[in-house]
Symmetry: C2
Subunit: 217 residues, 2 copies
DNA sequence: TATTAATTTATGTGCAGACATAATTTTATC
DNA sequence: GATAAAATTATGTCTGCACATAAATTAATA
Protein backbone atom coordinates (compact mmCIF):
# COMPACT_ATOMS: atom_id res chain seq x y z
CA UNK A 1 0.00 0.00 0.00
CA UNK A 2 2.79 2.39 0.88
CA UNK A 3 4.63 1.50 -2.29
CA UNK A 4 1.58 2.27 -4.38
CA UNK A 5 1.06 5.50 -2.46
CA UNK A 6 4.70 6.51 -2.84
CA UNK A 7 4.63 5.57 -6.52
CA UNK A 8 7.39 2.99 -6.10
CA UNK A 9 4.96 0.77 -7.93
CA UNK A 10 3.26 2.96 -10.50
CA UNK A 11 -0.17 2.45 -12.05
CA UNK A 12 0.00 -0.34 -14.60
CA UNK A 13 3.18 -1.82 -13.15
CA UNK A 14 3.44 -5.55 -12.67
CA UNK A 15 4.34 -6.17 -9.06
CA UNK A 16 6.39 -9.13 -7.78
CA UNK A 17 4.69 -12.51 -7.57
CA UNK A 18 3.26 -13.72 -4.29
CA UNK A 19 6.18 -16.05 -3.62
CA UNK A 20 8.71 -13.26 -4.06
CA UNK A 21 6.79 -10.93 -1.76
CA UNK A 22 6.47 -13.71 0.82
CA UNK A 23 10.24 -14.13 0.73
CA UNK A 24 10.88 -10.41 0.95
CA UNK A 25 8.56 -9.86 3.87
CA UNK A 26 9.44 -13.12 5.54
CA UNK A 27 5.94 -14.47 5.71
CA UNK A 28 3.83 -17.20 4.15
CA UNK A 29 2.40 -16.94 0.67
CA UNK A 30 -1.10 -17.28 2.12
CA UNK A 31 -0.53 -14.08 4.06
CA UNK A 32 0.64 -12.22 0.98
CA UNK A 33 -2.35 -13.59 -0.85
CA UNK A 34 -4.75 -12.22 1.74
CA UNK A 35 -3.09 -8.82 1.66
CA UNK A 36 -3.12 -8.56 -2.13
CA UNK A 37 -6.66 -9.89 -2.28
CA UNK A 38 -7.76 -7.21 0.10
CA UNK A 39 -6.05 -4.47 -1.90
CA UNK A 40 -7.63 -5.83 -5.06
CA UNK A 41 -11.05 -5.74 -3.39
CA UNK A 42 -10.59 -2.09 -2.58
CA UNK A 43 -9.73 -1.40 -6.20
CA UNK A 44 -6.01 -0.71 -5.83
CA UNK A 45 -4.76 -3.79 -7.64
CA UNK A 46 -5.85 -5.77 -10.66
CA UNK A 47 -5.14 -9.48 -10.44
CA UNK A 48 -5.40 -12.23 -13.02
CA UNK A 49 -4.29 -15.79 -12.83
CA UNK A 50 -1.02 -16.48 -14.48
CA UNK A 51 -0.88 -12.89 -15.77
CA UNK A 52 0.12 -11.60 -12.34
CA UNK A 53 -0.81 -8.60 -10.22
CA UNK A 54 -0.76 -5.03 -11.50
CA UNK A 55 -1.32 -1.67 -9.85
CA UNK A 56 -4.76 -0.53 -10.98
CA UNK A 57 -4.63 1.97 -13.82
CA UNK A 58 -7.67 3.97 -12.78
CA UNK A 59 -7.84 3.78 -9.02
CA UNK A 60 -11.61 4.09 -8.93
CA UNK A 61 -12.58 5.41 -5.55
CA UNK A 62 -15.23 3.21 -4.10
CA UNK A 63 -17.52 4.60 -1.48
CA UNK A 64 -19.90 2.43 0.43
CA UNK A 65 -23.30 3.86 1.20
CA UNK A 66 -25.35 2.13 3.81
CA UNK A 67 -29.02 2.08 3.04
CA UNK A 68 -30.83 1.39 6.26
CA UNK A 69 -34.51 0.82 6.70
CA UNK A 70 -36.03 4.30 6.75
CA UNK A 71 -37.25 3.84 10.30
CA UNK A 72 -33.68 3.20 11.46
CA UNK A 73 -32.46 6.16 9.45
CA UNK A 74 -34.92 8.46 11.20
CA UNK A 75 -34.30 6.94 14.61
CA UNK A 76 -30.54 7.27 14.23
CA UNK A 77 -31.13 11.02 13.94
CA UNK A 78 -32.89 10.87 17.34
CA UNK A 79 -36.32 11.50 15.90
CA UNK A 80 -39.58 9.64 16.32
CA UNK A 81 -40.53 7.63 13.26
CA UNK A 82 -44.01 7.19 11.89
CA UNK A 83 -45.55 6.68 8.50
CA UNK A 84 -48.84 7.05 6.68
CA UNK A 85 -50.00 4.64 4.03
CA UNK A 86 -51.54 7.19 1.69
CA UNK A 87 -52.88 4.79 -0.91
CA UNK A 88 -52.73 1.20 -2.03
CA UNK A 89 -54.17 -0.57 -5.03
CA UNK A 90 -53.53 -3.51 -7.26
CA UNK A 91 -52.56 -2.70 -10.80
CA UNK A 92 -51.10 -4.08 -13.99
CA UNK A 93 -47.61 -3.21 -15.17
CA UNK A 94 -47.30 -0.33 -17.59
CA UNK A 95 -45.61 -0.99 -20.90
CA UNK A 96 -42.52 0.71 -19.50
CA UNK A 97 -42.40 -1.59 -16.47
CA UNK A 98 -43.01 -4.62 -18.66
CA UNK A 99 -39.98 -3.80 -20.72
CA UNK A 100 -37.76 -2.64 -17.90
CA UNK A 101 -38.36 -5.56 -15.58
CA UNK A 102 -39.43 -8.29 -17.96
CA UNK A 103 -42.90 -8.47 -16.40
CA UNK A 104 -45.71 -10.12 -18.31
CA UNK A 105 -48.72 -8.02 -19.28
CA UNK A 106 -50.94 -10.08 -16.98
CA UNK A 107 -48.68 -9.74 -13.91
CA UNK A 108 -50.31 -8.52 -10.72
CA UNK A 109 -48.69 -5.64 -8.94
CA UNK A 110 -49.44 -4.04 -5.62
CA UNK A 111 -48.89 -0.29 -5.64
CA UNK A 112 -48.21 1.54 -2.38
CA UNK A 113 -47.83 5.24 -1.67
CA UNK A 114 -46.34 6.05 1.70
CA UNK A 115 -45.23 9.14 3.58
CA UNK A 116 -42.46 8.58 6.11
CA UNK A 117 -42.27 11.08 8.95
CA UNK A 118 -39.57 12.22 11.33
CA UNK A 119 -41.16 13.76 14.46
CA UNK A 120 -44.36 14.46 12.49
CA UNK A 121 -42.30 16.33 9.86
CA UNK A 122 -42.37 14.78 6.37
CA UNK A 123 -39.13 12.87 5.81
CA UNK A 124 -39.54 10.96 2.57
CA UNK A 125 -42.28 10.13 0.11
CA UNK A 126 -42.27 6.58 -1.18
CA UNK A 127 -43.86 5.22 -4.35
CA UNK A 128 -43.56 1.47 -4.63
CA UNK A 129 -44.83 -1.48 -6.57
CA UNK A 130 -44.50 -5.06 -5.47
CA UNK A 131 -44.62 -8.08 -7.76
CA UNK A 132 -47.38 -10.22 -6.22
CA UNK A 133 -46.41 -13.34 -8.11
CA UNK A 134 -43.02 -13.15 -6.38
CA UNK A 135 -44.29 -12.45 -2.86
CA UNK A 136 -48.05 -13.20 -2.69
CA UNK A 137 -47.85 -13.47 1.12
CA UNK A 138 -47.59 -9.69 1.45
CA UNK A 139 -51.32 -9.38 0.77
CA UNK A 140 -51.92 -10.92 4.18
CA UNK A 141 -49.52 -8.58 5.96
CA UNK A 142 -50.82 -5.63 7.94
CA UNK A 143 -48.95 -2.87 6.18
CA UNK A 144 -50.52 -0.22 8.40
CA UNK A 145 -48.38 -1.39 11.31
CA UNK A 146 -45.16 -2.42 9.66
CA UNK A 147 -44.07 -0.61 6.52
CA UNK A 148 -43.84 -2.60 3.31
CA UNK A 149 -40.14 -1.86 3.28
CA UNK A 150 -39.59 -3.59 6.59
CA UNK A 151 -41.94 -6.41 5.73
CA UNK A 152 -39.92 -7.14 2.63
CA UNK A 153 -36.60 -6.90 4.45
CA UNK A 154 -37.88 -9.30 7.08
CA UNK A 155 -39.58 -11.76 4.76
CA UNK A 156 -37.61 -11.81 1.55
CA UNK A 157 -34.58 -14.01 1.15
CA UNK A 158 -31.30 -12.54 0.07
CA UNK A 159 -31.64 -10.44 -2.96
CA UNK A 160 -29.67 -8.26 -5.27
CA UNK A 161 -30.65 -4.99 -6.80
CA UNK A 162 -29.73 -1.64 -8.13
CA UNK A 163 -29.77 1.86 -6.80
CA UNK A 164 -29.85 5.10 -8.72
CA UNK A 165 -29.58 8.49 -7.07
CA UNK A 166 -30.59 11.75 -8.66
CA UNK A 167 -32.08 15.16 -8.00
CA UNK A 168 -35.53 16.30 -9.07
CA UNK A 169 -37.71 19.34 -8.68
CA UNK A 170 -40.75 18.72 -6.49
CA UNK A 171 -44.00 18.41 -8.41
CA UNK A 172 -47.14 20.07 -7.07
CA UNK A 173 -48.28 16.78 -5.55
CA UNK A 174 -44.90 16.11 -3.98
CA UNK A 175 -44.64 19.62 -2.60
CA UNK A 176 -48.02 19.19 -0.94
CA UNK A 177 -47.12 15.82 0.57
CA UNK A 178 -43.62 16.80 1.69
CA UNK A 179 -44.74 20.25 2.79
CA UNK A 180 -42.16 22.11 0.74
CA UNK A 181 -42.27 24.70 -2.04
CA UNK A 182 -43.11 23.48 -5.51
CA UNK A 183 -39.88 23.04 -7.46
CA UNK A 184 -37.75 22.46 -4.36
CA UNK A 185 -34.75 20.24 -5.08
CA UNK A 186 -35.47 16.72 -3.85
CA UNK A 187 -32.91 13.98 -3.39
CA UNK A 188 -34.37 10.93 -5.12
CA UNK A 189 -33.35 7.30 -4.65
CA UNK A 190 -34.64 4.69 -7.08
CA UNK A 191 -34.22 1.12 -6.11
CA UNK A 192 -35.15 -2.18 -7.68
CA UNK A 193 -34.84 -5.52 -5.95
CA UNK A 194 -34.60 -8.95 -7.49
CA UNK A 195 -34.74 -12.45 -6.08
CA UNK A 196 -33.46 -15.18 -8.33
CA UNK A 197 -33.92 -13.25 -11.58
CA UNK A 198 -37.44 -12.28 -10.62
CA UNK A 199 -38.23 -8.63 -9.93
CA UNK A 200 -39.74 -8.30 -6.48
CA UNK A 201 -40.17 -4.61 -5.89
CA UNK A 202 -39.16 -1.20 -7.13
CA UNK A 203 -39.22 1.95 -5.04
CA UNK A 204 -38.77 5.63 -5.61
CA UNK A 205 -37.99 7.61 -2.49
CA UNK A 206 -38.16 11.38 -2.67
CA UNK A 207 -36.54 12.85 0.41
CA UNK A 208 -37.68 16.15 1.90
CA UNK A 209 -35.35 19.12 1.26
CA UNK A 210 -32.29 19.15 3.48
CA UNK A 211 -31.62 15.43 3.30
CA UNK A 212 -28.00 14.36 2.91
CA UNK A 213 -26.66 10.90 2.21
CA UNK A 214 -23.27 10.26 3.78
CA UNK A 215 -20.66 7.69 3.00
CA UNK A 216 -17.27 6.69 4.22
CA UNK A 217 -14.43 5.75 1.96
CA UNK B 1 -26.26 -17.77 3.40
CA UNK B 2 -29.11 -20.07 2.47
CA UNK B 3 -29.94 -20.59 6.12
CA UNK B 4 -30.14 -16.88 6.71
CA UNK B 5 -32.24 -16.44 3.57
CA UNK B 6 -34.56 -19.28 4.53
CA UNK B 7 -34.80 -17.95 8.08
CA UNK B 8 -33.43 -21.16 9.57
CA UNK B 9 -31.12 -18.78 11.40
CA UNK B 10 -33.21 -15.74 12.23
CA UNK B 11 -31.98 -12.20 12.77
CA UNK B 12 -30.36 -11.94 16.18
CA UNK B 13 -29.75 -15.69 16.45
CA UNK B 14 -26.42 -16.95 17.65
CA UNK B 15 -25.12 -19.37 15.05
CA UNK B 16 -22.87 -22.36 15.78
CA UNK B 17 -19.20 -21.70 16.50
CA UNK B 18 -16.61 -22.05 13.77
CA UNK B 19 -15.42 -25.43 15.00
CA UNK B 20 -18.93 -26.86 14.97
CA UNK B 21 -19.60 -25.58 11.45
CA UNK B 22 -16.26 -26.96 10.30
CA UNK B 23 -17.29 -30.36 11.64
CA UNK B 24 -20.73 -30.18 10.10
CA UNK B 25 -19.50 -29.18 6.67
CA UNK B 26 -16.43 -31.39 6.83
CA UNK B 27 -13.91 -28.64 6.23
CA UNK B 28 -11.20 -26.78 8.10
CA UNK B 29 -11.97 -24.04 10.58
CA UNK B 30 -9.98 -21.58 8.47
CA UNK B 31 -12.40 -22.17 5.62
CA UNK B 32 -15.41 -21.55 7.84
CA UNK B 33 -13.66 -18.43 9.14
CA UNK B 34 -13.23 -17.07 5.64
CA UNK B 35 -16.84 -17.75 4.74
CA UNK B 36 -18.21 -16.12 7.90
CA UNK B 37 -15.80 -13.22 7.54
CA UNK B 38 -17.05 -12.61 4.06
CA UNK B 39 -20.69 -12.70 5.16
CA UNK B 40 -19.85 -10.32 7.99
CA UNK B 41 -18.20 -7.95 5.51
CA UNK B 42 -21.35 -7.84 3.44
CA UNK B 43 -23.34 -7.00 6.55
CA UNK B 44 -25.20 -10.28 7.00
CA UNK B 45 -23.49 -11.36 10.20
CA UNK B 46 -22.25 -9.61 13.31
CA UNK B 47 -19.17 -11.17 14.86
CA UNK B 48 -17.46 -10.47 18.13
CA UNK B 49 -14.63 -12.31 19.79
CA UNK B 50 -15.71 -14.68 22.42
CA UNK B 51 -19.32 -13.51 22.07
CA UNK B 52 -19.76 -15.52 18.87
CA UNK B 53 -21.45 -14.87 15.56
CA UNK B 54 -25.01 -13.60 15.21
CA UNK B 55 -27.26 -13.01 12.24
CA UNK B 56 -27.34 -9.23 11.77
CA UNK B 57 -30.44 -7.63 13.27
CA UNK B 58 -30.69 -4.82 10.76
CA UNK B 59 -29.35 -6.21 7.54
CA UNK B 60 -28.07 -2.84 6.39
CA UNK B 61 -27.97 -2.90 2.65
CA UNK B 62 -24.63 -1.71 1.50
CA UNK B 63 -24.27 -0.29 -1.94
CA UNK B 64 -20.95 0.54 -3.47
CA UNK B 65 -20.73 3.66 -5.56
CA UNK B 66 -17.74 4.04 -7.77
CA UNK B 67 -16.49 7.58 -8.02
CA UNK B 68 -14.35 7.82 -11.10
CA UNK B 69 -12.38 10.80 -12.22
CA UNK B 70 -14.90 13.05 -13.97
CA UNK B 71 -13.09 12.69 -17.27
CA UNK B 72 -13.54 8.92 -17.13
CA UNK B 73 -17.16 9.36 -16.14
CA UNK B 74 -17.81 11.50 -19.20
CA UNK B 75 -15.79 9.28 -21.50
CA UNK B 76 -17.59 6.16 -20.29
CA UNK B 77 -20.78 7.79 -21.62
CA UNK B 78 -19.07 8.04 -25.04
CA UNK B 79 -18.74 11.79 -24.88
CA UNK B 80 -15.76 14.05 -25.39
CA UNK B 81 -14.43 15.50 -22.17
CA UNK B 82 -13.11 19.01 -21.70
CA UNK B 83 -12.99 21.52 -18.90
CA UNK B 84 -12.59 25.23 -18.28
CA UNK B 85 -10.71 26.59 -15.33
CA UNK B 86 -13.02 29.53 -14.62
CA UNK B 87 -11.09 31.05 -11.75
CA UNK B 88 -8.23 30.39 -9.36
CA UNK B 89 -6.95 32.36 -6.43
CA UNK B 90 -5.16 31.85 -3.15
CA UNK B 91 -7.20 32.51 -0.06
CA UNK B 92 -7.36 32.04 3.70
CA UNK B 93 -9.75 29.60 5.31
CA UNK B 94 -13.06 30.98 6.47
CA UNK B 95 -13.98 30.54 10.10
CA UNK B 96 -16.27 27.71 9.02
CA UNK B 97 -13.47 25.87 7.22
CA UNK B 98 -11.12 26.45 10.15
CA UNK B 99 -13.54 24.73 12.47
CA UNK B 100 -14.64 22.00 10.10
CA UNK B 101 -11.20 20.90 8.99
CA UNK B 102 -9.00 22.04 11.85
CA UNK B 103 -7.14 24.48 9.62
CA UNK B 104 -5.13 27.27 11.21
CA UNK B 105 -6.14 30.87 10.49
CA UNK B 106 -2.88 31.45 8.64
CA UNK B 107 -3.21 28.41 6.38
CA UNK B 108 -2.85 28.97 2.66
CA UNK B 109 -5.53 27.62 0.42
CA UNK B 110 -5.77 27.46 -3.34
CA UNK B 111 -9.30 27.96 -4.59
CA UNK B 112 -10.33 26.60 -8.00
CA UNK B 113 -13.57 26.97 -9.93
CA UNK B 114 -13.94 24.58 -12.83
CA UNK B 115 -16.60 23.70 -15.37
CA UNK B 116 -16.46 20.14 -16.69
CA UNK B 117 -18.00 19.56 -20.09
CA UNK B 118 -19.40 16.58 -21.94
CA UNK B 119 -19.34 17.22 -25.70
CA UNK B 120 -19.29 20.99 -25.06
CA UNK B 121 -22.43 20.63 -22.88
CA UNK B 122 -21.95 21.59 -19.22
CA UNK B 123 -21.60 18.41 -17.17
CA UNK B 124 -20.61 19.47 -13.67
CA UNK B 125 -19.51 22.63 -11.89
CA UNK B 126 -16.69 22.17 -9.41
CA UNK B 127 -15.74 24.41 -6.51
CA UNK B 128 -12.60 23.27 -4.77
CA UNK B 129 -10.02 24.37 -2.27
CA UNK B 130 -6.67 22.74 -1.80
CA UNK B 131 -4.56 22.90 1.34
CA UNK B 132 -1.22 24.23 0.07
CA UNK B 133 0.68 23.26 3.19
CA UNK B 134 -0.29 19.65 2.45
CA UNK B 135 0.51 19.64 -1.28
CA UNK B 136 2.63 22.73 -2.13
CA UNK B 137 3.81 21.07 -5.35
CA UNK B 138 0.45 21.69 -7.01
CA UNK B 139 1.38 25.34 -7.49
CA UNK B 140 3.87 24.20 -10.10
CA UNK B 141 1.38 22.03 -11.95
CA UNK B 142 -0.22 23.20 -15.16
CA UNK B 143 -3.84 22.94 -14.13
CA UNK B 144 -5.03 24.18 -17.52
CA UNK B 145 -3.99 20.90 -19.10
CA UNK B 146 -4.72 18.37 -16.40
CA UNK B 147 -7.58 19.03 -14.02
CA UNK B 148 -6.77 19.49 -10.34
CA UNK B 149 -8.82 16.40 -9.65
CA UNK B 150 -6.59 14.22 -11.78
CA UNK B 151 -3.44 15.90 -10.57
CA UNK B 152 -4.38 15.06 -7.01
CA UNK B 153 -5.35 11.48 -7.86
CA UNK B 154 -2.01 11.02 -9.62
CA UNK B 155 0.18 12.76 -7.08
CA UNK B 156 -1.37 12.21 -3.69
CA UNK B 157 -0.66 9.08 -1.71
CA UNK B 158 -3.52 6.96 -0.49
CA UNK B 159 -6.03 8.95 1.37
CA UNK B 160 -9.29 8.62 3.13
CA UNK B 161 -12.23 10.92 2.98
CA UNK B 162 -15.93 11.46 3.14
CA UNK B 163 -18.66 11.89 0.62
CA UNK B 164 -22.00 13.55 1.10
CA UNK B 165 -24.69 13.58 -1.56
CA UNK B 166 -27.62 15.93 -1.62
CA UNK B 167 -29.93 17.90 -3.88
CA UNK B 168 -29.93 21.67 -4.25
CA UNK B 169 -31.71 24.28 -6.31
CA UNK B 170 -29.45 25.98 -8.81
CA UNK B 171 -28.46 29.52 -7.86
CA UNK B 172 -28.41 32.25 -10.47
CA UNK B 173 -24.67 31.83 -10.91
CA UNK B 174 -24.92 28.05 -11.16
CA UNK B 175 -27.77 28.23 -13.63
CA UNK B 176 -25.70 30.51 -15.84
CA UNK B 177 -22.64 28.25 -15.69
CA UNK B 178 -24.52 24.98 -16.13
CA UNK B 179 -26.88 26.50 -18.69
CA UNK B 180 -30.03 25.44 -16.88
CA UNK B 181 -33.02 27.26 -15.41
CA UNK B 182 -32.54 28.97 -12.08
CA UNK B 183 -33.87 26.71 -9.33
CA UNK B 184 -33.34 23.50 -11.30
CA UNK B 185 -32.68 20.51 -9.06
CA UNK B 186 -28.94 19.78 -9.04
CA UNK B 187 -27.35 16.61 -7.77
CA UNK B 188 -24.55 17.74 -5.47
CA UNK B 189 -21.57 15.72 -4.25
CA UNK B 190 -19.42 17.09 -1.46
CA UNK B 191 -16.14 15.41 -0.89
CA UNK B 192 -13.30 15.98 1.52
CA UNK B 193 -9.99 14.19 1.32
CA UNK B 194 -7.44 13.64 4.06
CA UNK B 195 -3.91 12.34 4.08
CA UNK B 196 -2.57 11.30 7.44
CA UNK B 197 -4.98 13.43 9.48
CA UNK B 198 -4.27 16.48 7.35
CA UNK B 199 -7.02 17.88 5.15
CA UNK B 200 -5.83 18.03 1.55
CA UNK B 201 -8.79 19.15 -0.48
CA UNK B 202 -12.52 19.61 -0.38
CA UNK B 203 -14.74 19.69 -3.44
CA UNK B 204 -18.32 20.46 -4.22
CA UNK B 205 -19.54 19.10 -7.53
CA UNK B 206 -22.88 20.31 -8.81
CA UNK B 207 -24.00 18.11 -11.69
CA UNK B 208 -26.10 19.45 -14.52
CA UNK B 209 -29.77 18.40 -14.45
CA UNK B 210 -30.37 14.85 -15.64
CA UNK B 211 -27.36 13.34 -13.92
CA UNK B 212 -27.85 9.98 -12.22
CA UNK B 213 -25.47 8.14 -9.95
CA UNK B 214 -25.75 4.37 -10.21
CA UNK B 215 -24.62 1.68 -7.86
CA UNK B 216 -24.60 -2.04 -7.68
CA UNK B 217 -25.47 -4.00 -4.58
C1' DT C 1 -20.70 -6.90 48.74
C1' DA C 2 -17.83 -4.66 45.56
C1' DT C 3 -13.69 -4.80 43.27
C1' DT C 4 -9.89 -7.10 41.18
C1' DA C 5 -7.44 -10.93 39.26
C1' DA C 6 -7.32 -15.31 36.92
C1' DT C 7 -9.37 -18.39 33.77
C1' DT C 8 -11.85 -19.69 29.85
C1' DT C 9 -13.26 -19.42 25.14
C1' DA C 10 -14.65 -17.94 20.28
C1' DT C 11 -12.79 -15.43 16.98
C1' DG C 12 -8.44 -13.26 14.68
C1' DT C 13 -4.36 -14.12 12.39
C1' DG C 14 -0.39 -16.49 11.24
C1' DC C 15 2.41 -20.64 9.13
C1' DA C 16 3.73 -24.47 5.78
C1' DG C 17 2.22 -27.37 2.46
C1' DA C 18 -0.87 -29.22 -1.18
C1' DC C 19 -3.68 -29.30 -5.11
C1' DA C 20 -6.92 -26.64 -8.46
C1' DT C 21 -7.50 -23.56 -12.18
C1' DA C 22 -7.07 -20.31 -15.82
C1' DA C 23 -3.76 -18.19 -19.02
C1' DT C 24 0.09 -18.13 -21.27
C1' DT C 25 3.89 -20.17 -23.60
C1' DT C 26 6.00 -23.87 -25.80
C1' DT C 27 5.95 -27.91 -28.50
C1' DA C 28 4.02 -31.06 -31.70
C1' DT C 29 1.20 -32.06 -35.62
C1' DC C 30 -1.01 -31.58 -39.98
C1' DG D 1 2.28 -21.52 -41.64
C1' DA D 2 -1.82 -22.48 -39.10
C1' DT D 3 -3.88 -25.27 -35.71
C1' DA D 4 -4.02 -28.35 -31.75
C1' DA D 5 -1.93 -30.47 -27.76
C1' DA D 6 1.16 -30.31 -23.85
C1' DA D 7 3.80 -27.99 -20.42
C1' DT D 8 4.35 -24.12 -17.55
C1' DT D 9 3.14 -20.75 -14.17
C1' DA D 10 0.86 -17.22 -11.00
C1' DT D 11 -2.98 -16.92 -8.60
C1' DG D 12 -7.12 -19.36 -6.15
C1' DT D 13 -8.41 -22.12 -2.50
C1' DC D 14 -8.09 -25.53 0.90
C1' DT D 15 -6.09 -28.25 5.04
C1' DG D 16 -4.21 -28.69 9.75
C1' DC D 17 -1.98 -26.72 13.17
C1' DA D 18 -0.45 -22.92 16.35
C1' DC D 19 -0.62 -18.92 18.95
C1' DA D 20 -2.80 -14.08 19.81
C1' DT D 21 -6.48 -11.40 21.52
C1' DA D 22 -10.67 -9.58 23.44
C1' DA D 23 -14.56 -10.46 26.08
C1' DA D 24 -17.20 -13.16 29.16
C1' DT D 25 -17.03 -15.98 33.19
C1' DT D 26 -15.36 -17.47 37.41
C1' DA D 27 -12.50 -17.22 41.44
C1' DA D 28 -9.98 -14.56 44.70
C1' DT D 29 -9.44 -10.63 47.51
C1' DA D 30 -10.30 -6.52 50.30
Amino acid sequence: MRRIGDRVWQPGDLIPAEIELAEEFGCARATVNRALQSLADSGLLDRRRKAGTRVALNPVRKATVEIPVIRKDVESRSKAYSFDLLDRKQLSPSVLLQKQYGLSKSAHLLGLWTLHRSDTMPFAYEERWINLSAVPEILEADLETLSANEWLVNNTPLSHGEFAFSARNASIAESRILNCPQGAALFVADRSTWVADQPVTAVRLAYAPGFTMNTTV
